[in-house]
């Protein structure tokens, strides 16, 4: 019998990771996960996400939802236990704001990973400046951010997850360094808590595997993906 929920994903994707954790937190465990080869996209992926042709693609019955942050909101509204977003509209606006900001920063960090020379340095520098804003904003705000309920993971934390786990891998793979623990004490502390949270730990892709993958991406990005 076909399952009610299907998730098209890719093991190394920080976006897919968000959805997996959200589903687990909501107790939606009996779903079909399909690993996509993003270098050789399936007809189904192209059909279900024709605009962006990317994972994650979230299928709930007849409904198809794309874009990971949008998927998180859909999941939060459909399965209301263990909320991802805070209830207060102002806090929700703050969570959405910083999540959006984080997505913009991710582009720069990724460019620092795959570009070389001056372009790499420029992106790394701009990324570092942006990251300082996050460090500054969340100084003094301890614990898990914007998550209601003891031990719950929040929307914003899932949005920031890439900084806390993927970024150190990208730094190593792409030979650039931003996350100096002296400059970013808040983020570094948060990182440690994050990767040790049981729900998170279970869903993080293995670091050594990621390193191999992102090293390759760093070297061959522009031949692997036509610009």
């Amino acid at each position: 019998m076909a399952k009610e929920v299907t998730l098209l994903g890719f093991w190394a994707s920080p976006f897919v990771f968000r959805v997996k954790v959200a589903l687990q937190q909501k107790g939606v465990v009996d779903y079909e996960y399909i690993e996509e080869d993003i270098f050789n996209k399936s007809p189904r992926l192209l059909e279900l996400n024709p605009v962006y042709k990317k994972v994650p693609v979230f299928i709930h019955g007849e409904k198809v939802v794309n874009e990971s942050l949008i998927i998180l909101e859909y999941i939060d509204e459909t399965w209301q236990q263990n909320p991802l977003l805070p209830r207060d509209p102002y806090q929700r606006a703050m969570a959405r704001f910083w999540a959006k900001y984080s997505e913009e920063l991710m582009v720069k960090a990724f460019m620092a990973l795959v570009l070389k020379g001056e372009a790499k340095e420029k992106n790394a520098k701009e990324f570092a400046e942006g990251l300082e804003k996050i460090e500054g904003e969340f100084k003094g705000k301890s614990g898990l951010l914007f998550a209601e309920g003891e031990g719950n993971i929040g929307y914003l934390e899932l949005a920031f997850g890439w900084i806390l786990y993927w970024l150190p891998v990208w730094e190593e793979a792409g030979s650039f360094q931003i996350l100096d623990p002296q400059k970013f004490p808040v983020i570094n502390e948060w990182s440690t808590k994050f990767v040790n949270h049981p729900l998170i730990k279970e869903n993080l892709p293995a670091r050594d595997r990621m390193l191999v993958y992102f090293r390759k991406l760093s070297e061959e990005f522009f031949t692997l993906f036509r610009a």
Binding site: V51, H60, K63, V65, N66, E67, I70, I71, E73, Y74, E77, T78, P89, Y90, R92, A93, R96, F97, K100, Y101, K133
Partner: protein, 231 residues
């Protein structure tokens, strides 16, 4: 929540499409607000304080708390003032679809608009192609989302997509006049075009969109200044 306890201020700019989105939302909801016009060449200290990350308009200040990023402001308004017309439907899937297209308009469509007006020669020709491609995608997406065509809109029946389409395309005649390019082509994009015609007839919209001549003058000024080499 009592009406009298709400202090709502909007820092905006008369020609800003993003600022207009928020004005439309406030008016649809019937929320009284104080409007503060910002001179973008000389931003107020208050604006810089409220939006220290982007330093941009619009900023909505509700009881002293600033909210920035126009789409986020729209959702904030809808969630905070639950009386009056809803800007978003209640159904999670419909909400997801609207958010998807709002994001598309912002990231993809506006992205290609900016490329268009900031490039020239061969690069600009490519940018034009890209704009038309994105418009195609949007037209197709709206056709699928609204299989019965555009529903009737008026001052009481005005949602987030209506707001985005109005703010983006409402002043299309001014854009055409200044940039000499017909983006909102009725033959290529009949649904979007007819939607904009409907929207532009509504008093709510007429009351918010910038005056045509004033906007043309500003866009001409911007266009002419960008042609000069930057120091």
């Amino acid at each position: 929540e009592m009406e009298g306890e709400n202090e709502v201020k909007l820092h905006g700019m008369w020609a800003s499409t993003y600022s207009k989105r928020v004005e439309l939302a406030l008016r649809v909801k019937g929320i009284p607000y104080e409007y503060i016009e910002e001179d973008l060449r000389n931003k107020s200290p208050l604006l810089l304080q409220y939006n220290s990350v982007y330093k941009k308009v619009p900023v909505l200040v509700h009881n002293g708390k600033p909210i920035t990023e126009s789409y986020i402001i729209l959702e904030y308004i809808d969630e905070t003032w639950q009386n009056g017309p809803r800007l978003l439907p209640q159904d999670p899937y419909q909400r997801a679809q609207i958010r998807f297209w709002a994001s598309f308009i912002q990231q993809q469509l506006f992205g290609s608009f900016y490329k268009l007006i900031s490039s020239n020669g061969e690069e600009q020709e490519k940018a034009v192609e890209e704009v038309f491609e994105k418009m195609n995608v949007l037209e197709k997406g709206m056709k699928e989302l609204l299989p019965e065509g555009v529903p009737e809109v008026d001052g009481n029946n005005f949602g987030v997509l209506d707001i985005l389409v109005t703010a983006t395309f409402g002043p299309y005649k001014a854009h055409e006049e200044v940039f000499g390019l017909k983006v909102l082509d009725p033959e290529k994009y009949p649904l979007l075009f007819s939607w904009v015609q409907k929207l532009n007839e509504i008093p709510l919209v007429k009351g918010v969109l910038p005056p045509h001549d004033k906007l043309v003058a500003l866009l001409q000024f911007i266009k002419q200044n960008d042609l000069k080499p930057s120091s």
